[in-house]
Homo-oligomer: 409 residues x 2
């Protein structure tokens, strides 16, 4: 058995980012209807003022605000109605002192007007006169030209994950196609002579494959596009052929399994042989997930990874490496988290970063994180958890009541 240096998570991330920089992170143009949840690959600017004219926010009368200064409930101000604005049309008249114009919610203010008095505070009489029982300050009940966004303003920043309101803002600006980061393509392989399809019934010694299912869902959740998925026996030739195939169609090939030392070594050797410069991380100081391998093939631009066979370990490592990588490449920044107090002491492994699944509960005035204790081979450890927190490798255990950052699953 070779003794190979184990990387810290920080070192492994640095190497992973170095090998992905420059080629992972291509952009594609998408119609805005298809862009929710995608990450903007460039800043978006408002090409013109939004709105492009002054709009009323109420049903009422557009006025010169100074005219209404003296208006009150017992002392109305009388104005002449110059005209009525139609929705969606130019205000076909302008007003001067002593005049006003009827305007619907969303309608354009006529030239000369600078405020709107709500219809509830007015009384029309005769054909052309209206009494105002309330004053309007300059700009009151008006959305100014460019108030939502001015021409040339940055509407949305590069790196933003597009929310429904962002799609609305793009529509408002007339941006109907948007440049977003392409989803990196990933092939997920699971190896082991003991693995059978979930549709089959296990004979003694066999278990159903969990990892291609859980990792594919996790990869999609993290913004990857799963282009291939297979379960393989522990067969050197078959594994190497399938990895090489995956490298042709994928940006990432992730192989989980090879739990025993011999199989882990084999996976590492195959990845190293199939790629150049090859494997650069031979293990990672993380719990669970130590037997993590990372490598890179420069010719095909493929990241290669050997993930642990235990489902909890494989998922945590995927999240911490490939989830992190995509946020880093796209400028998506830190994952959102919920601060919570842990409900019990948790041990850590000095020198190794530790991931703790937790159940979140809201208790009087604060959020509590209950650590879910369980072996990393048990998938139900994770189904009982709503999120996880990470303890740095330099921290020596946490006491009940300390606050941690919980990342939601």
């Amino acid at each position: 058995m070779e003794f190979l240096k184990v990387d810290t998570v920080a070192a492994a991330r640095r190497k992973l980012l170095d090998s992905a920089k420059g080629w992972l992170g291509a952009a594609e143009l998408l119609p805005i209807e298809e862009a929710p949840g995608r990450i903007l690959a460039e800043d978006v600017y408002a090409p013109e003022d939004i709105p492009s004219f002054r709009r009323s926010t109420v049903d009422g009368y557009a006025v010169v605000s100074g005219d209404t200064a003296a208006a009150g409930e017992s002392m109305p101000v009388f104005l002449n109605v110059k005209g009525s604005v139609e929705m969606g049309k130019t205000a076909a008249f302008s007003i001067s002192r002593g005049e006003c114009g009827e305007v619907p919610t969303g309608g354009m203010l006529p030239e000369g007007a600078d405020a709107v008095v709500m219809v509830e505070y007015t009384e029309a009489f005769g054909g052309e006169g209206v009494a105002m029982y309330q004053s309007a300050a300059y700009g009151e009940n008006v959305v100014q030209t460019g108030e939502d966004a001015g021409a040339g303003d940055r509407l949305l920043p590069k790196g933003k994950t597009l929310l429904p309101q962002d799609i609305g803002a793009l529509a408002a600006a007339g941006v109907v196609e948007v440049s977003v980061y392409k989803k990196p393509r990933i092939t997920i392989l699971s190896t082991g002579d003991e693995l059978i399809s979930p549709a089959a019934y296990p004979a003694p010694g066999q278990i159903r494959d969990i990892n291609t299912y859980a990792l594919a869902a996790l990869a999609e959740k993290n913004g990857y596009l799963v282009v291939g998925k297979s379960v393989l026996p522990d067969d050197e030739g078959a594994l190497e052929r399938t990895i090489r195939e995956g490298m042709k169609t994928s940006d990432v090939v992730a192989v989980s399994g090879g739990s025993s030392q011999g199989k882990k070594d084999l996976t590492r050797e195959i990845i190293d042989r199939a790629s150049s410069p090859g494997v650069y991380t031979h293990g990672m100081a993380i719990k669970p997930g130590k037997p993590t391998i990372l490598g890179y093939d420069d010719a095909s631009h493929t990241l290669l990874s050997g993930l642990p066979g235990h489902p909890v370990s494989a998922m945590m490592v995927f999240e911490l490496l490939f989830g992190w990588l995509l946020r880093e490449i796209t400028g998506g920044g830190q994952a959102p988290f919920i601060p919570a107090r842990i409900s019990s002491n948790v041990p850590t492994s000095p020198g190794r970063l530790t991931c703790w699944p937790v159940r979140l509960e809201w208790a009087e005035g604060g959020m509590t994180a209950d650590p879910v204790f369980g072996k990393s081979g048990l998938i139900t450890t994770l189904t009982k958890a709503g999120g996880y927190f990470v303890v740095d490798r330099d921290t020596e255990g946490l006491k009940a009541g300390e606050t941690v950052k919980v990342y939601l699953f």
Copy 2:
């Protein structure tokens, strides 16, 4: 103008739920690969023990734990190797006191063994003897039969949104198809003579349609399936025809727009005419979003809603009514939230529930929510926010430093 009773949000929700109960919430069977993010429509039980045999979690030797009790670094215990277990196969031998069996990580324990000693703490010599330099407690390095889930155990509860690990757990249990709630079908209409397509250039008085884009994305995010989407002028006949068409294909028809009082009344009248028993909520005590209409057609099983025209109002109302409804129907429970301290005082409207968009920031030891102040007609009020909090109608304003529950957009 009729004076109609305005509902509290709680009352409107109760009516909405009453009219949706019993028919919204049908289930469908999906392959587990297509089920991530969907909501379980029934409890899922483990049909058999997972795993179905005792597995080793390490590479090592399966032993009778009692045999190793005296083992130590300077005083090994010597055992006879009875055989070697192959991955994915039945252990073809059993062991008795004084014996052990080689077993790989994930391999089956031979009968008679009750613990595993890691290979690192052993030394093989000759062909059939091995020295143990560490003791193993009963059950050490073993996953017991049914330890992940026992036959008949509830694996996942009805109402759970399926996460990647849940898909993994279903695979482990051999459940390859799962019953999830169908996505309710929704038609989204936006009305207004001022509205043009985002692809067009607005003439004075015109603005681009925001609401069908933002609401469609929001509806999808909340688990609805958008089956129709149109922008219409303020034309009574066209609106009625389109609503009636939508009722044939949809579980929900939502009409946003009709900002002016006359248009609002018209939308309400059309919805009331097109449905039976018709409109039951004629306005809602919420800010922003007061002009919200709710109705129901019993014959076609359609929920009908008139949403405010202002995009911020329309989105907040959709979230609070239709986002809430689906969680309620499916048992999804409360939306996840982040507790945060508000950074400034916020005014409220007594008697009305108030929604405040906020920017979230992590500051030393806690999460801060900065209220984003802005008119509800400005979509950029929401693009600057990461979430929102809700102030109950009985609360009279909040002071800086108070903790609120922030729901993420």
